[in-house]
Each structure stands twice: as C-alpha cells, then as structure tokens.
Symmetry: C2
Subunit: 205 residues, 2 copies
C-alpha cells in the first residue's frame, strides 16, 4: 500500500563524465516502476530527426525569456549561446498525476532546483576515483586533453558539493547504481515525513 | 561499492498484533542480504528446548540488575515478573563487524533506543486499518476479547507515535512490507550523512 499519491521528483546530478546519462538509461529500462523523464525546453534549433515535445520543447528566444520572467523554469542555463531549461508546469503536472519524474542535470541546475523544490530527492552520482572519471572522459573521444583537464578540475569543485545532496551513489557499475536509485525511490515513499499526515487521516476514517 | 563499513541498526516496531514478527521472518528469508538478529537477554527460566545464546541469553535477576546499573542495555522491560532486554555490547560488536542488526521490539523499547542510538533506522510497522489489526489479534486465538479491546486501545495511542519514526511501512502484505524494508536498508547506506566523510577521504587519496 502506497501512502503518498504524489510522485517524487528525482534529481540525478554529478560531475561531467560520471555517467549520469548511462545510469538514467539503465534506470528507465527497469520495467517494474513508473518513471517519467522531464523533457527540456531549448532555444537551439532542432537537429535532423528531433521531434518537438519528444527530444525537446523547441521555442524561440523571446518565448524562453518570457518564461524566465514568469518563473516558469525549475532551472535553466545557457550553453553555446542557447538556453536550456526544465519547464516547471510540465514537471508539476506529472508529479500530481502520481508519476515519479527523473531529472538528469548538471550540478549547477540541481542547486537551482533545491531552492524551488526542497521536497525533491537529490542524488549525487559520484565517480569511484578521479582516474575513472578521466578514463571515461577520454573514452568519449569528443574532447581534447585541455578540455578534459578542465573538466577534472571542475569535478574536484563539484564533488565538494556532494554534501548538499540527500544520497551519494557511486557509479562503479551502472546496474548497481540504478538498483540503488530504485531502492532510494522505494524508501523515500515510506518516509514518515512524506506519509504521516495521510496515514493518520486514513486511520481516523 | 559500499561506502560505510558499519552495519545499520534497524529497529522494527509497531503496535501489538501488527505482524512485526512475521515481517521480520520474511526479511530474514531473503538470502541476498546479511542481516543479524539481536538475541534478547532475560531472567525468565528457559523453556524445554530453548538454548542459551540462541533463543535468549538466560541470566539471573542479580546479573540483569547489575547490567541495568552499568548501562549495558539498549532497552529493557519487565513482563510478568521477568526482565527482558537488548544487550548493548552484542549489538555494537555486530554493527562494527559490518552486519546489519535487526531489532523487533515494542513501541516503548524503540523510544528507549532512539535516545541511545540516534543513528539507528526506525521503522514503524503500521496496520492498514484498525479492523485488520483486530482480526489478526482474534485469529491468534491467544487472548480473550477484553485483552484484545485493550490492545486496540493501546494501538490508537501507539499509532500517534509513528511520527517519531523514520519510515512507516504498512503491513498490508508481508512480502511487500519486507521488500520495502530491504529498500530502506539499501537507501540508508547511500545517505549522504552516512557516507560523505568516507567518500571525501577516498577521493583525497
């Protein structure tokens, strides 16, 4: 019996190269739980094959800035001249309908969300070692060594922020990490702070 | 990768008749996790077949009272003229060796433990309804209707104490309850408060 009918907002974050995306994908392959992914909004142009409302919500710069003004993002950032953000209304609708919403975002975005959604569950995906992180960044093959060095330096800073998260999940093995996140979701639904009001009401009836 | 090498003290409590024992047994049947049960100490005489150090630690009244004086119990109580208690040293040894220790105790005992072991994980096993609780007490067949009425009244008081626990697990179906407790144990091991010091140390090396 589940007491809280609200879904949970699960924020998965961690340093660049830690494997957030891989862990998130492994999580969504588990068929025994209803998870929803939040679709980001962006001002960048769609690439070939990308579908509006599936890959991203594609909007104009004017619309995006209007939404920032109206506090309609849980978090947003700019990257190579384009805006990227998490639309608040879409996330809240999904949570109300009882779905868990998973956000996979950068450390800075997670900090923005913590201010707006303190009830969200913040999970820091951590590398087992800096060496493992470096290896992963090199194996991606998308960046030259200076950029990788920069990312490792940034990771040193970001790992200090792990203390602000609710959970630390080490990505030593992607399936282990996904299993641990599933356990966290189940445990959070049983947390007294989330369920006590509903339970006492139920027992009064 | 597990960060905290200490085991967790898992305190399972709830009203009489809620099925704490059944849930605990289901939990111990799961072979995928190392759980240890804390053996109580008592001044009651061993029944036929009961083994010292297996069913209980059997001690004299004098020894028990000496141990109370020396603060050697996590909790204790008297029942029908005999003492029953949880020996502190045995529990601490098991936790240090990395085992999770499961205590299945009455609500009053759980309150005593909360003062001595604030890091323990407190799980309130809750009945789905008062009717379900009454049915279970009746089906035990060990008590007459006045005693059952008294237990139900006590349950009304004890359920108000659920707010002091970390988690509420409704015992609607014993395997569901045991699954949820396993998820709680896994999630607690990933909690930042339990792991951050160890993780930052690991990353400095």
């Amino acid at each position: 019996m589940k007491l809280d009918n609200q879904g949970l907002l699960i924020v998965i974050s961690g340093p660049s190269g830690v494997g957030k995306g891989t862990v998130r994908k492994a999580l969504f392959q588990r068929s025994d739980h209803d998870l929803e992914y939040s679709i980001s909004m962006t001002t960048r142009k769609p690439r070939e094959g990308e579908v509006d409302g599936v890959d991203y919500y594609f909007v104009s710069k004017e619309e995006f800035e209007e939404r920032i003004k109206n506090d309609q993002f849980l978090e947003y950032a700019t990257f190579v001249g384009n805006y990227y953000g998490t639309p608040k209304d879409k996330v809240l609708d999904k949570l109300k309908s009882g779905s868990e919403v998973v956000l996979e975002i950068e450390v800075n975005g997670a900090s923005q969300i913590k201010k707006k959604m303190p009830d969200a569950v913040f999970i820091f995906i951590a590398p087992p070692t800096y060496d493992a992180l470096e290896k992963r960044l090199i194996s991606r093959g998308t960046e030259h060594s200076d950029a990788i060095k920069e990312r490792i330096e940034k990771a040193h800073q970001e790992i200090k922020l792990a203390s602000q998260y609710d959970y630390i999940v080490i990505n030593d093995e992607v399936d282990n990490a996904a299993d641990r996140i599933m356990a966290i979701i189940r445990a959070e639904h049983a947390k007294t702070t989330r369920t006590i009001d509903e339970y006492l009401k139920l027992m009064e009836e």
